[in-house]
Amino acid sequence: MTDSLEGTKPQYDVVVIGSGLGGLTAANMLAKDGYSVLLLEHHHKLGGLATWFKRKGGHIFDVSLHGFPYGMVKTCRKYWTREMADCITQIKGIRFDNPQFSLTTTYDTNDFKRTMQDYFKVPADTVDSFVTTIKNMNFYDEHTMTTREMFDKFFPGRDDVVRFLLEPIAYANGSTLDDEAITYGIVFSNFLSRGVYIFRGGTDKIIGMMEAELKKNGVDIRTGARVEKIVVEGGKVAGVVANGKTIKARAVISNANVKATVQRLVGEEHFSKEFAEETRKVRLNNSSCQVYIGIRKGETIDYVGDLLFTSVADKLDAQMLRSRNITSRTYSFYYPDIRPGSDRYAIVASTNANYEDWAYLPEDEYRASKQDLIESTLDALERYVPGIRNKADYVEAATPKTFERYTLHPNGTSFGTKFEGLRVSMGLNEQVPGLFHTGSVGIIMSGWLGAANYGVIVANNADKYLRP
């Protein structure tokens, strides 16, 4: 085995731990500012949850490319390259099918308003004032209302409307009715501004472009490099230990989960008692299950929409969204045009999931549950893609355990932490000078857009600290 840390310098200005979109973007910003940056990723690929995998038979699956807001165009252009921004295209068929309603929308402001008025019969001024409220939310605002309270205010007694509003966001960032309204509002209004977008060329293409850009900007990138420890000396960050090797750094930006950063990588003893306690109280967000369905070469599927939110549950219930007794599934349909030049189709079914439901099963039961997840998903999909079992020639499932293994995130969390995690993330540098965290945290800083933008914000804070 080759030593993935061979030839690293003894010291860098900044070490970035983890290559999720937060870590990648922070590394790029700091390298562009002229700092020497070392990026360490334990997996053999860059991207973190923004990932893809190939399987025999020419299959390729995207894990988290279901849709992101238009803001990603600006983020790519401002912090990466114009070329990347130009690959982003809208997906227009966002479908809902559940016992309460069945409709298709583009999920942009105009279509949203139209759907709310014509389909759900909500008065125009109510819709307008809801949209205005949501659009004026900022992440630095005060936040006292829960999403439930906000919905009760605008749409009392309308659990169908609430379902239409919440279900996509619950999938996009794990937020529930009991979370702060801002965690819902910011992400929802990001989507609402212009609808839902994806990256043409697939996750492999964007991550490949990012890697090339990082190299061009001088970032030293090492995969297969697991950071075991962030070194603190004299109360300040002094470097990291990765694969047993000590590397010095003036600042460290961790893209590992924020709790793991404090508790596993730095150690609670380096923080005040109150801060350690506050960190312990941070709730992790939920994890996910996915079923990847590869369509046999030569087979096609008719266009049934791009993103399909389905449920057989009578009403929306956030607990139910994660239950192993799955009633709600989101399907992403990948037609050949996602990867120009390809003639292949794939379907990815996703559900939110609880780590506890999967983590402690005996091996045989775990396998059986995974198989059951696959079978029940194919059965449910039959309704939308008749003959799916004959069209598919490859199927595989991922559970919270899978996400934990590949990202090292505690409980395989898909979207970092609940809202309170953001305060901890932002407070690290005050506790241990030179220590920063970026990536999915606090719900609002999650998803491709949130994680990448948070990378920019944290790089800016690190620059503040590093500048003489």
Binding site: G71, K74, T75, R77, K78, N138, F139, Y140, I186, N190, S193, N453, V456, I457, N460, D463, K464
Partner: protein, 83 residues
């Protein structure tokens, strides 16, 4: 810097952040976000650029001071007069 120069600085920053926007007839007393497609990240970019280019720190509590071109100039003038 003079008021006029500060105005130019701000408009330059915005032009870079939002290259597709037409800034020629921007109304100086109307919030940027009511006339331009600026989201909260674009807005933060303004704050971050002010620090990078001129070393000016705008604390979170003061963000609303940057809502319009006029209020931005009024807020920044005492902070940028010696630059």
């Amino acid at each position: 810097m003079t008021k006029e120069e500060i105005k130019t600085v701000i408009l330059d920053i915005i032009a870079e952040i939002a290259p597709d926007e037409d800034l020629s007839d921007i109304k100086s007393d109307v919030p940027f976000r009511d006339q331009l497609e600026l989201d909260s990240m674009d807005f933060l970019d303004i704050v971050m650029e002010l620090r990078k280019r001129y070393g000016i720190e705008v604390p979170e509590d003061d963000y609303q001071q940057l809502a319009t071109l006029d209020s931005s100039v009024a807020y920044l003038e005492p902070r940028m007069k010696d630059l």
